[in-house]
């Protein structure tokens, strides 16, 4: 219909064959000669001063080759941004959570390394700890980082319009407090890093990182090593969901251990370590107030959020900013107030987790709107339609909305889910609920940049090589980027060779997160492929003695329109260029955020927030609730997403389906449970991610408005699909049995208790 030959096609992942054969190399599959195994020594206490570290006994253990403490590091604090830096790779003065890194050992095998850890003696002075962010904010609470009064790492205050006037003019105001819990990404592949260090100081790192170029920068920063000496390569990655973006202290330790020992070193997390010592979704307490007029228009809305940072920053400040901007940008509302606090506690720290602060605030907003719809006796979908964003609008918080398919997602989800019928005619204890969302469809410039680079090179024999910094973490960006390049060059995507995410070879890419890769890396590929196409056509025009404008490309052959017999192949052009001329056929593309950064952009609140595109969606969940046990079964699910032009609908559906199941898990069964700072359930058998028996039928619907800022009109999808899932499920539970769960997860026990309270009142 749109005439594309590659873009828009449901093709399987180009990497799928090596994956099904078991020949795809993941980081832990790498074995190097003389490779040692590293383990980290971690704090057993949630908050303590380090008085002394004695490694002497461990050093004597047979098989131990290197031990590190903070003395082996330049003691430079790091985070995802230097401005937020609060973590040392190995702590020197204090430990701030159970698991805080103190030392590292490399030995001939893991068992010896573990034995060596037992021989390292640390003297601590235990300090009072605080686990509840509301308590941590109070005067007199134990101070976790000296520089932060009241343990507050970031405050966001943002107002648009006139909030008091807005509420005064509302016919109905509802206020509620919602809480959300820590979620663990639970990728099936744990963190793993292999590092070697040459005698000349050249470091090579293989890491399952979602952001290898950023990893190189952060390693350089934290270790005081010139970035040019660090080469980061990403093997295949077994899922990330945000957990593999940061510089991990164990990655820094891995590099230093290899430097100190002179051997390659591998550090790999056990599943227990993955749960206890890698990032989590920030828990939140969200107090929200929304005022509407009788007709359902939102007149004013206000949120006060306390976000639990855990012991260190990681992405925390940006996650709070996203929490604000997603709250403030969804729906057309003039009067908005947001007050947000990011608070340190002595627990495992939060980081980027699929949705990045958006699921938390969407849970609150979409639950509260459901309550408002009920009081207005208005259909929840009608309420959203009345307030939905439109394309080509600027919101009250000065965010540009380019393409917008929110209304279409509402309508199509409604029809696909048979909403009208099911709202009215449903069996007992069954319910249907919905929620909508907004997210970035092209990353953001909030942290200062939003870059992705790509190169397309045609070799002397006519083969095409696409090199892009973007990382495929399983979502299929390799396939999608190749499809884009193939479309432009008029070839089959299988004809494109691909190298990605290698800091020595590929132009930088900020990383795979924020649903940015399709748009940002895609734009870079678009530029690069078009540049090389132009060069090919210019050369071919000369060879064919024709005008460039009269030429067409098909299946690696360039011919004159209307005269298919007059043609040259890519190979012939490339050969002529390389052997007869002093030219090359290389195109570059480099994208860095939207074209114009608004002058009133605020890098804290993200007001005036420049993302090249925003994406929208609507989820509808159908549930059956056991009225005695409180157990919830999701029997059907519809997820409609506006993602601009779907470059590969098969892979886009895969993202949506996977996100929905993670979202349902967050709604019903997943919770990282803490007691006095210790995680009680660090395993697959006690942290409950869905099995195939739990997963419902899911209909993924793609809404494709063409976005002016996206390559072929495409926007992102990766993080979006778990943003509105939890409120859709919780709203459905309310519809089924009349109880509203305001603190996630909505476990059977909570629902059972709520049902009993309802029946006695």
């Amino acid at each position: 219909m749109d005439g594309y030959t590659s873009v828009g096609k449901r093709v399987p992942q180009r990497d799928a064959v090596v994956k099904v054969k078991g020949s795809a190399i993941f980081t832990k599959d790498i074995k190097l000669k003389g490779m040692l195994h590293g383990k980290m020594l971690r704090s057993p206490l949630p908050h303590a001063r380090i008085l002394n570290i004695d490694v002497s006994r461990a050093e004597k253990l047979k098989g131990v080759r290197a031990i590190l403490t903070y003395k082996d590091t330049p003691q430079i604090k790091f985070s995802i941004s230097p401005t937020w830096a609060d973590k040392l790779p190995l702590e020197s003065e204090k430990v701030r959570y159970v698991g805080d890194e103190i030392a590292a050992v490399a030995a001939v095998d893991e068992d010896t390394a573990m034995e060596a850890l037992d021989l390292i003696h640390v003297d601590f002075e235990e300090l009072p700890a605080v686990y509840d962010p509301s308590e941590a904010m109070k005067p007199g609470a134990p101070i976790i980082h000296d520089a932060f009064e009241n343990n507050i790492a970031r405050v966001i205050n943002m107002e648009c319009g006139d909030i008091e006037k807005g509420f005064a003019g509302s016919d109905l105001i509802l206020e509620e407090t919602f809480t959300t819990q820590a979620q663990s990404h639970s990728p099936i592949e744990t963190h793993c890093c292999v590092a070697t260090c040459e005698p000349n100081g050249q470091i090579t790192v293989w890491a399952n990182s979602q952001a290898p170029h950023s990893l190189r920068q952060r390693l350089s920063y934290a270790l005081g090593v010139d970035a040019s000496k660090i080469h980061v390569i990403t093997p295949f990655i077994g899922g990330g969901f945000g957990s593999k973006i940061d510089l991990e202290p164990s990655q820094a330790a891995c590099v230093l251990l290899s430097r100190k020992s002179g051997n390659p070193v591998r550090i790999s997390n056990t599943r227990q370590e993955q749960y206890m010592f890698t990032r989590l979704r920030h828990p939140t307490i969200e107090k929200m107030r929304i005022g509407v007029n009788r007709g359902g228009k939102i007149i004013a809305k206000e949120a006060r959020v306390v976000m639990d940072n855990g012991a260190y920053n990681s992405h925390g400040p940006a996650v709070l900013s996203y929490n604000n901007v997603m709250f403030s940008t969804l729906y057309r509302v003039e009067n908005i107030k947001y007050e947000g606090y990011l608070v340190y506690t002595n627990k495992n720290w939060g980081g980027a987790c699929r949705g990045y602060g958006d699921p938390q605030v969407t849970f609150a907003q979409e639950s509260l709107l459901d309550m408002i719809a009920e009081q207005l006796k208005m259909d929840p979908i009608e309420l959203r339609l009345k307030n939905a964003n439109n394309p080509d609008e600027v919101t009250a918080n000065k965010v540009f909305i380019t393409s917008c398919g929110l209304k279409e997602t509402l309508k199509e989800a409604r029809d696909a889910a048979d909403w009208a019928e099911k709202k009215v005619n449903k069996p007992r204890h069954r319910g249907i609920g919905m929620a909508s969302m907004i997210y970035t469809g092209g990353g953001s410039i909030g942290s200062g940049s939003n870059y992705s680079g790509a190169t397309v090179q045609v070799n002397a024999d006519g083969t095409i090589h696409l090199m892009a910094g973007a990382v495929d973490i399983g979502q299929g960006s390799n396939t999608v980027l190749a499809q884009m390049a193939a479309e432009i060059l008029g070839v089959d995507p299988d004809n494109i060779r691909l190298t990605t995410a290698d800091t020595d070879v590929t132009l930088p890419c900020m990383g795979t997160f924020g649903s940015r890769v399709t748009l940002c890396a895609g734009n870079a590929v678009f530029q690069a492929a078009n540049e090389v196409k132009k060069k090919l056509l210019e050369e071919a025009a000369e060879m064919l003695e024709a005008n460039k404008e009269d030429l067409e490309i098909n299946e690696k052959r360039i011919f004159v329109k209307g005269s298919p017999g007059v043609s040259v192949t890519f190979a012939q052009v490339a050969s002529a260029v390389h052997y007869k001329k002093r030219k090359t056929l290389i195109g570059h593309g480099y994208y860095n955020g939207p074209e114009v950064v608004p002058k009133d952009f605020d890098p804290v609140s993200y007001r005036g927030y420049p993302s090249p595109a925003m994406v929208f969606g609507t989820h509808i969940a159908e549930v059956e609730v056991d009225p005695e046990t409180g157990r919830v079964d999701v029997v059907n699910f519809v997820a409609a997403h506006d993602l601009g032009k779907a470059i590969n609908p098969l892979l886009a559906e895969g993202q949506i389906e996977g996100g929905v199941v993670q979202g349902i898990g967050w709604a019903l069964t997943e919770e990282v449970k803490f007691e006095n700072g210790r995680i009680l359930n660090p395993s697959f058998h006690d942290y409950k991610i869905f099995t195939i028996e739990d997963a419902p039928k899911i209909s993924a619907i793609l809404i494709e408005p063409i976005d002016p800022n996206g390559p072929f009109g495409a926007k992102g999808i990766g993080e979006c699909a778990m943003v509105p899932t939890a409120p859709a499920v919780v709203n459905a539970i309310y519809d089924a049995v009349g109880v509203r769960i305001k603190d996630l997860p909505a476990t059977p026990e909570k629902i059972c208790k709520a049902l009993k309270e309802k029946s006695t009142s």
Partner: protein
């Protein structure tokens, strides 16, 4: 079954993996997973949890689907083992592998070898399983990327292809 009559810390074992015979010298504590990945360089079988909860390490041992992380290598002495590497014939993919590729059931690919081995074991046992039987059989294989929708499609497609 050959016994080991005296207490020993190291053992010489014979295993047939994907039709090839190997003699290996191992410790008592070596797991079958470690034997495959570290000693025989068959890294297609993955470690997801090392405690039998995720199925990423699934292999077929003497005709039975097992989590190789919970089998000692010495227990597999004299055994026949099939791993993911044993499924395809050079260029041609096994019908289950082909179905996983074509259905979009492969995202990050880390759970994939285990998922495919489980599918193979299931179809060897139940050539035409119902959807309920498929779910029950695959319940021990966790996937975090896909939501299982396209995995179910792939398994159903495998049934058709194997017919």
């Amino acid at each position: 079954m050959r016994g080991i009559m005296k207490m020993k810390k190291t053992h010489q074992i014979q295993v047939a993996v994907n039709g090839e015979a190997y003699t290996c010298l191992i410790s008592s504590k070596t797991t079958l997973l470690e034997l495959l990945r570290d000693d025989l360089d068959l890294t297609g079988t993955k470690e997801g949890c090392d405690e039998g909860d995720c199925g990423a390490c699934s292999v077929i041992l003497n005709g039975k689907l097992v989590n190789s992380c919970l089998v000692l290598a010495v227990e597999a002495d004299d055994g026949e083992i099939t791993t993911i590497e044993g499924l395809d014939r050079g260029d041609a993919l096994n019908p289950i592998q082909a179905a996983f590729v074509d259905s979009g059931a492969v995202q990050c690919g880390f759970c994939t070898p285990g998922m495919i081995m489980t599918t193979k074991a299931m179809l060897d046992e139940i050539p035409d399983p119902s959807e309920e039987q498929i779910k029950h059989y695959l319940a021990g294989n966790l996937c975090r990327c896909s939501g299982y929708v396209k995995i179910m499609d792939a398994v159903k497609s495998s049934i058709k292809r194997s017919e």
